[in-house]
């Protein structure tokens, strides 16, 4: 990864144009040609520096349900509960964190009502409580992660 790659990652986290030749329109900003921008992004994707390239959709705006849920699981049950939770296609991300609340997952469902039913099913299958922490407000200022 060189300084041009870093400029691309920093400069293209939003604002990719919607037109016939969007890379051509963007390349000049990084002082390179269209073909080079395309091959650099492909390379960054292949090497895993970029996890995604494209439109980021807003689930709730589409009428879907989205929430963050947490569980406090005893160490001896952690593997079993992980398998149950991860088996739900509605579970998009699941992280282990260092805390008594040691499992944190994002639920994305087709309808808001489905959130509650998935949570109840997980509680019934695992025997553990699920703490539902939907966002009440988002303080969103665009993505600005810099490398």
């Amino acid at each position: 990864m060189d300084s041009v790659d870093r400029d691309i990652i920093n400069g293209l986290q939003g604002g990719f144009p919607v037109c016939e030749h969007p890379f051509r329109e963007t390349a000049a900003r990084f002082g390179i040609e269209e073909a080079e921008l395309i091959s650099r992004i492909q390379q960054l994707q292949q090497e895993g520096f970029i996890s995604r390239f494209g439109p980021m959709y807003h689930a709730e705006r589409l009428g879907g349900g989205l929430t963050l849920a947490a569980m406090a699981i005893a160490e001896r049950d952690f593997g079993r509960v992980t398998r149950i939770v991860n088996a739900y296609p509605e579970v998009a991300h699941n992280y282990r964190r260092e805390h008594e609340f040691n499992m944190w997952f994002v639920l994305a469902t087709e309808s808001p009502a489905r959130i509650d039913s998935v949570i109840r099913e997980i509680e019934r299958q695992t025997g553990y409580l699920v703490y539902n922490m939907p966002k009440l407000e988002e303080f969103f200022i665009g993505l600005k992660f810099e490398v």
Partner: protein
């Protein structure tokens, strides 16, 4: 690695109104389905999508623009992989903040360039007293802690308890499936 120059200008106070729900029609849903995993990295990505869906490219691009205007598409671009880029410490800082000040403070915290997500979420008393969440990324835990200290100072008197929950394992990671 971080450079002070060319910092994107923060877009202030884009707070979502949850009331507006855009109803995508069948063609929109096809576009969403085809692009939620990403755009083709090719000279004419929207035209490629249109061809795959047997749609008119102008129609596809117009629909993408409309979805952007309605906030259905938040933005179009790169999602960096923090871990791979060396930001291996991921701390979810959680704060018990006076409800009367949470909006004003949340907006300030969300504006910090090292906070990738910032939300007001419900407490679950007594086990979970925290109502403000701010995700902080750093190259190591010390870097995260020093950034968390900055947040603590900004919150001042409105702050009661807080904690930083570090992630130790990704148990599952897939893209959000929307349709």
């Amino acid at each position: 690695m971080a450079s002070a120059s060319a910092k994107p200008v923060p877009r202030l106070d884009i707070v979502m109104s949850e009331a507006t729900v855009y109803r995508p029609d069948e063609k929109d849903l096809l576009i969403i389905e085809a692009t939620q995993g990403g755009l083709p990295v090719s000279p004419t990505p929207y035209h490629d999508i249109a061809e795959a869906l047997d749609m008119d490219p102008e129609d596809v691009m117009q629909r993408v623009r409309t979805m952007q205007e309605h906030g259905v598409i938040r933005r179009i671009g790169i999602v960096p992989n923090h871990y791979k880029l060396g930001y291996t410490a991921n701390g979810m800082s959680v704060w018990d903040v006076d409800d009367r000040h949470i909006r004003e403070l949340g907006r300030k915290i969300g504006r910090l360039d090292f906070v990738s997500h910032c939300y007001h979420r419900p407490r679950h008393l007594p086990e979970w007293p925290y109502n403000l969440f701010a995700m902080v990324h750093g190259r190591n835990r010390d870097e995260v802690f020093s950034k968390v200290k900055t947040i603590a100072d900004m919150l001042g008197d409105a702050r009661r308890e807080y904690q930083v929950l570090f992630s130790t394992e990704i148990l599952k990671k897939t893209g959000l499936r929307l349709s």
